[in-house]
Symmetry: C2
Amino acid sequence: MFNKRTKIKTLLAGEFVGQDVTVMGWVRTFRNNQFIALNDGSTNNNIQVVVALGMLDDATLKRITTGASLKITGEVVASLGKGQKVEIQAKSLEVLGDSDAEKYPLQPKKHSLEFLREIAHLRFRTNTFGAVFRIRHSLAFAVHQFFNERGFVYLHTPIITSSDAEGAGEMFRVTTLPMEGAPRKEDGGIDFGEDFFGKSTNLTVSGQLEGELGAMAFSDIYTFGPTFRAENSNTTRHLAEFWMIEPEMAFYDIEDNMNLAEEFIQYLIRYAMKHNAEDLEFLDQRLAEEEKQKPQAERSEMGLLEKLRFVVDNQFERITYTEAIDILLDSPAYKKKKFKYEVKWGIDMQSEHERYLVEKHFKKPVIVTGYPAAIKAFYMRMNEDGKTVAAMDILAPGIGEIVGGSQREERLDKLEQRMKDMHIPTEEMSWYLDTRRFGTVPHAGFGLGFERMVQFVTGMGNIRDVIPFARTPKNCEF
Amino acid sequence: MFNKRTKIKTLLAGEFVGQDVTVMGWVRTFRNNQFIALNDGSTNNNIQVVVALGMLDDATLKRITTGASLKITGEVVASLGKGQKVEIQAKSLEVLGDSDAEKYPLQPKKHSLEFLREIAHLRFRTNTFGAVFRIRHSLAFAVHQFFNERGFVYLHTPIITSSDAEGAGEMFRVTTLPMEGAPRKEDGGIDFGEDFFGKSTNLTVSGQLEGELGAMAFSDIYTFGPTFRAENSNTTRHLAEFWMIEPEMAFYDIEDNMNLAEEFIQYLIRYAMKHNAEDLEFLDQRLAEEEKQKPQAERSEMGLLEKLRFVVDNQFERITYTEAIDILLDSPAYKKKKFKYEVKWGIDMQSEHERYLVEKHFKKPVIVTGYPAAIKAFYMRMNEDGKTVAAMDILAPGIGEIVGGSQREERLDKLEQRMKDMHIPTEEMSWYLDTRRFGTVPHAGFGLGFERMVQFVTGMGNIRDVIPFARTPKNCEF
């Protein structure tokens, strides 16, 4: 067994003074041929290893460079240095892997996020990305724990799909046909009958419709998987491949749905605050420094930790779409013609409108309900007024839409009528309609974009910095 | 709020006698116009609801059919019926959704698995699939809990990839180019520079290589995501889309790797045995009945629960590939020429060989190590003998290979040589080689096919019956 070691997180949290331990990790810095800051990724904190003068020959000392990997055994002693309770007095040191200081791209200095994005395979080794991806892990675990505690069944809905009815966006084709000389039908069109699945297939944009099938048996299910949009959006908020969480609950109305979504978001934030306190403090300071570079007017009113505390300590604001439009029409921004896009009942609110509501007007997350049917998907439940649907979007400060959901239309006749109105073929969707034919029940669900949630909790401004390897237009590295 | 109800699992586990409760669910059976067996998916057990004679009019009674959804309020009373401690004396009953008994495909009788596969959108409502997918949920949660407890970081490796170096199998193309009239380069070839990502892209076959990048920063990471094979395999063991778990650990050798994999599998089984006892009992009986239909010689020696207990109570057998070949050559099966495929050192063992080892010879899970380099992937660490690699496969009774893993080749010169020998372009993989250039460390990892694990725990013979919506050649429904 090679791996008999103590992780640095364990070491820093425990009572090891006077004991011999073995640690393994990568050198962050090496000062005065004596002090090694070693990191193993279990925490952002390094352990300081003290090498007695004369213990190592010059050749070995030269190999202790930033990025090199070491195996060190020594005694844990109380540290006199500031910011650390303990350090290790090395008794033996082995260089496992060298790192040529001339060539190693990560030097012990500040690198730009843009540069680090280009070396995404190495950026995990920085403090910023170490913190971001440990928090991402925590949030993912909290997602599963939240639903597991509540008896939800985790359902793996399909990634490759022949259905394109959700209409959530442009899709990627999945095929094994040759791009040149694909087989043809008699009428000259491509013969997808010859494709792997015997039909035309795409990458999923949502697991919701399949999720509903599960909810009609297990009562409560959730998905957590990758979803795809083939949209040419080069923004800080869009990815072609991202992860989404989609719970779907039988016997829920729109109010139950809002309650669950709010509880869920607060649970995730509390979990990270409890389990990633150090990483959040680091990111809080990082963001504060970033903000200092901005002009006064563009700076956030709250720091990262302050914002997170505020969100878990306060209820989300709940307003109707109609109220939202009234607030916008009554706003100084509208009156001073500061909005680029039109404001009137019936519009699909733009980012600038949503930001005004959450960042200027309410200064906290807002749940908007009762959207015009015309701008929402076919499966959303029609309200009594015949013109709005029981949809809900949750808007978060700095992020915009973080959750989209609705009570689903459980009435077969109304659903079929709406599908016809929206030119969605009911025959192909017969399996979906079966849930309304056989024991239909009021039900609801929502989708949470996982990366947007990670952005919200970490304060990272660009969505490409919260997913390990971003897929965006013209970019598919690693 | 609509959803003020008590879930049936909670009701059956708690002390509710004398209290009024509201339950919601779907009718499984309705006997004598009096006894409703109601199920809400929280457990395979139904709650019996007793409707007093004369309480409901005839029209309502007729609507209480198999599959209909009901909302019932009533008092919980001790039950005289066998197999149930409590039942509900209905005080009010509302039919939420009808289910036409003439048309509902799920009748209260035994349906074949083949038939249920065709109505996969409804099969969740059966006892068998209710049990299978609740266990699948539990196993998925246990995966996350196992790694979270051990400080592993959950890494979402990319689904769309431009790398095809792993060579694990045929890949699906992902594209937004038109299938007819795709843009051409000057030399006449398809111009993938015009494709969404500016190059040719595929669905991933493994997240391992990206996982290694994470391990070189966080020490321990794992993936749990969908992977794809465009192989025309119409078997009970293959899917075109399946979920895989791939942990990757820095500072691990092959022995550490084996220890972790064995501990992991036993942990998953124990978790299901603890949290899904009722579902496993049901599946144990289901399998016993299925086995009875087989000729004596083909029946399993152990029942499902017996097998699971055996696996968690006993260490896995560990042998080398060379020992495995010797056992096969020395076997009665070989001597009687019962093997269809050749046996000699150097072969890629076939299913019949693996089954002999685990089912006939050792009768328990077996870890085979030290495979010939020639039949294994480029990234596996070369052993001192220069002809075998530090690979390991775990073979399970009734399933075959359930885990494949290895210590990775961390020595840059040896890795580059092997890539050259196997015609893998080193320039394109420069990001991967960087982990060996900068602070390389001994490391290892493995992949567990999640559906095979679910098969093993549930005893389901066909892999299509343990994933919600199977994707196989010429099949992409729902």
